[in-house]
Symmetry: C2
């Protein structure tokens, strides 16, 4: 039996247990605190968050539909293992999806929202300067999310989040083995392009940001990291 350790998380009043379980597990996976290949038990999770199997199972179903977990033939549940090929596909998908999302946001985003992006980027630079990898990752996600959700009818966010979620466990490994994150994000470039309403330039900035920013490793680096982590 694995003594599952789960970071605590505030529970808003009235939130159902299954949703709370989903949020908490999701966060744990997103920041890579559950190792790929590690198997989870319903009862173990239920005990860890002081509830019962029923709502936990609902949370696990959702997470498996989101690609964060994989249900084996034994019906056992685990965090999928990463491979260099899978990582490549995920990053390529991220690029396509997010470029699209960025393009479809250009026509909707307000100056005020662009200001908000700049604000998030400042906080992000600050976190990087403090070498606070975890919050840097979160703020980077918030930057992208804020951009894409400027389009009120946007349909990509659940899919983008799914990709982030699938990348999460590997980023957890990466952050353990990479001494410093020397991040060269393209957020300023994106912001400038947004102010000019230049759709192509926005898309280019986002593509470059994904390719070279946080989590942007080349294939060799990936294989190295996977070997180091014994995957």
């Amino acid at each position: 039996m694995g003594a599952l350790k789960l970071a605590p998380l505030a529970r808003p009043d009235g939130m159902p247990t299954h949703e709370y379980a989903h949020r908490r597990l999701r966060q744990a996976i997103m920041v890579g605190s559950i190792r790929p290949g590690e198997s989870l038990t319903i009862r173990g999770i239920a005990e860890a968050m002081e509830s019962s199997p029923t709502p936990v199972r609902e949370a696990l179903r959702r997470l498996s539909s989101e690609g964060a977990l994989k249900v084996l033939d034994n019906r056992r549940i685990m965090v999928p293992k990463m491979t260099a090929d899978r990582f490549g596909e995920l990053m390529a998908l991220r690029a396509v999806l997010e470029q699209h999302g960025a393009r479809r946001a250009v026509g909707h985003i307000t100056e005020r929202q662009i200001d908000r992006l700049a604000e998030i980027d400042r906080a992000l630079d600050d976190a990087i300067a403090r070498k606070d990898k975890a919050t840097a990752l979160l703020l980077n996600q918030e930057f992208h999310r804020t951009l894409y959700t400027a389009n009120p009818d946007q349909m990509i966010m659940p899919m983008v989040e799914s990709v982030w979620l699938q990348l999460g466990p590997f980023l957890g490994i990466a952050m353990e083995h990479v001494a410093q994150l020397y991040v060269v994000d393209r957020h300023q470039e994106a912001i400038a392009a947004l102010r000019k309403r230049d759709e192509d330039a926005v898309a280019a900035a986002i593509a470059a940001d994904i390719r070279e920013g946080i989590g942007g490793f080349d294939r060799g680096a990936i294989e190295n990291l996977l070997r180091l982590a014994g995957q």
Copy 2:
């Protein structure tokens, strides 16, 4: 209480109830047999498929994560309503996602698999000639799925299926009000491009197929259909 009618579906031996419920509801939504705005009750579904609330709830959670269902603030569950804007976003997303999937399949697909595509396309033409809209829709999906899954590491299928699922209820409406489906698919074009391993041509064929094929309506047609259906 709504007397929910659910098309029967064979249940493979040993399949868990929650998965069976998921499959059956999913299929019902995909072919548009549940109207947008129609609300579902857990007990109603459980009764309709002769089981109990527990596994049905798991199925509903998965479907909500897949975008097929929406959980309201009252915690009640319904099929999302369609709008012209939402439809536009979904179709644009479909185009981006599937072009990407097609491109990433070109390097992996075998001649044998291309033959299989041709076979599916023949069956599809046959269904169209018989004016059998339902199977035409299914075969069209199978054509696309077969293409994209030629890439063994492909990560887009769950997302493509999610989009199809969200389009489903509206296609159900469309098929009721559109007398004939005069479909001009671009499958032959795609097949020819695949044999030549011409990635750009494949992507172009898929884009055109989505734009002009089954479910490819212009904005005016959408608004008309939504008005006709009283949405």
